[in-house]
Point group: C2
Chain length 407, copies 2
Amino acid sequence: MTITDTPIRLPIPPLPRGFRVAAVHAGIKRNASREDVTLVASDLPATAAGVYTTNLVYAAPVAYDRSLTPGRNFRGVAINSGNANACTGARGLDDARAMAAAAGKLIGAAADEVLVLSTGIIGEFLPLEKITRGLEQAAARLAVDDDAVVTAARGMMTTDTRPKLAGSTFAADGTAYTLFGMAKGAAMIGPRLATMLGVVLTDAAIEPADAERLLREAAETSFNCVSVDGHMSTNDTVLLLANGAAGGGTLHGAGLAAFGRSLSAACETLAREMADDGEGATHVMRIEVTGCATRDEARQVARTIADSPLVKTAVHGADPNWGRIVSAAGYSGVRFDPTQVRLRLNGTLLFQAGAPVPFDADAVSASIKAARETLIELELGSGPGAIRFYSSDLTAEYVHLNADYHT
Amino acid sequence: MTITDTPIRLPIPPLPRGFRVAAVHAGIKRNASREDVTLVASDLPATAAGVYTTNLVYAAPVAYDRSLTPGRNFRGVAINSGNANACTGARGLDDARAMAAAAGKLIGAAADEVLVLSTGIIGEFLPLEKITRGLEQAAARLAVDDDAVVTAARGMMTTDTRPKLAGSTFAADGTAYTLFGMAKGAAMIGPRLATMLGVVLTDAAIEPADAERLLREAAETSFNCVSVDGHMSTNDTVLLLANGAAGGGTLHGAGLAAFGRSLSAACETLAREMADDGEGATHVMRIEVTGCATRDEARQVARTIADSPLVKTAVHGADPNWGRIVSAAGYSGVRFDPTQVRLRLNGTLLFQAGAPVPFDADAVSASIKAARETLIELELGSGPGAIRFYSSDLTAEYVHLNADYHT
């Protein structure tokens, strides 16, 4: 495959120093042009942290990774798509460990120095032979170029239409660092860490506890603020690996804060990409809720709006239907005074003081039609709690994809 | 109109003694063949109770009725469709009272002896002249025959494809009583008393406090156990009127319990009808959750399954996708032990002890295709908490209805 086959937003971000990646088609997915095994290798031992699904029914790779992070001395991540290794009991956990061991053997690491990610069909055992062979082929191709990066991100994809990449640089005490992220997710995207996989790599050196804390904070305002269908997966995982290859020593203080900002920005980019690539989506909804008592309350209001099929279909139909938005806020469970509410759609004021205001419905409808992103701004009062939340609209194509294809 | 035009499940239940109904087209709906004003009159003063939306953004008729119920001496209900009188501020409340006063004048009652229900477009003022004229015409046609009953139920409808009726009889101390219910609702049907209107009439005599308590209990296992799209409306209301026209004295003890059972059965029938008539629905899902600690926990699990677009589309596609059902339960927020879970779909065991069991997927798929109702039975453990919940599947037609038509 060549990267020109892949619809992707340029530029492709560079890998941080000391990381190499590769992906191959190992035969898990039926379509031979789709990569399904990705290997991420770190030349140096890396700090790793993870955030995971809160679904009670969680998959074997989640159990495996959660038992190991946060920690030091990680050397890589083995990833497969096409099979989630979920609802597979004790054998599933053995298989996750075997997959980590197989990858570790190829890069000179122990099983517990490699993390694993799986996504795809639920309830079937991992095809370990195919995965092991795929990892062998991938290990032979580990590279740092754009083609390797895009292929690696494609190897995580299921129904995604494009790989999701983010990158940034930051500096601390005269050292320049690179941060890179890749993710997948287009459905079973729920509001509290969704059916998604994400891998964030940096060449900074970070203490495990700091990595864990900053990854959690970044997820709070990114992966926990995105929804396609509100259905939380069994496999959601975001991993952060920090290998220190840039030199400059372990980050603390202002350097650590700079890393945290870079991490949050990359996570938000990846989260927005998931909503944008939501199954069948024709619009990405950016929902800005302000004036709540707390950020959690703002998120709860935003999530209720984001998950309302009536709001999602209204956006799809370019209908400036303030009633659906305001009434969704009203049943979110968050207390507010309806007479203090103010709603703007794509910048136009539609509702305030408990009643609609006159507006040019045709113009607002045209603005929805004209852009991929629809902006919903809802002020609920004067409190400090605010959130930005991304969601997709609901289309007949989403229904076709999920009714007509078995997963 | 003649009742043969109307798809309806026969037999049409009779009105309790002492109640008369009528409906007319008053020009609120554009289509002149659609009734939009309904009048319910009680010849005797009736006890009335109500349950209402818990949406913070509630409509004027909700505010008006809630201020009056529970109580005695009610003489009727004035209902309009096509305009919800929601988000209409102080004028909306004045309009609700004026509508009650207009109806009261026609049947010899004060404004506060008449309750009002409105459903339809949000954010526009009631067309009071049209409604008053419609009430006058309806008052002249009040009747008890099947045609009047079906027309009255049609006068509440918005996107419903058919009127929703329920009826039963019960006896206490040698007196025979009749109970009658009519309701509307096909979208904005949320899980905690949904966008729906319901009116239940009985010729029994009931104390206001008993009427209130039993109506709440009945709603808990009927209207609070139904979902089309999880979006809670601003106007949800169920009213119960009990006029004592059957004689036999005020019900207590065993007689009151018999009434309560009759009331619950009628409410469940109406609630199921709403899910069955869900916008675009091709299936009604009956979700039976058992083995929880409490009924509320069982309802929370059932609601999460009912509202998952992935479960809804799987049922639409006749896909026995146990993974979507089990994983929805897993993110419901209710604690359970996944190894104790047992799932049946249309009677076939699909999942137990934390893993899928072998089953004939083609046969189960065929059973989904063959019937309007799909039965999902989920055992989560050995607790006493159980619930029955109704929902509709999600189809492209739902998307078309809500994206392409403005409400």
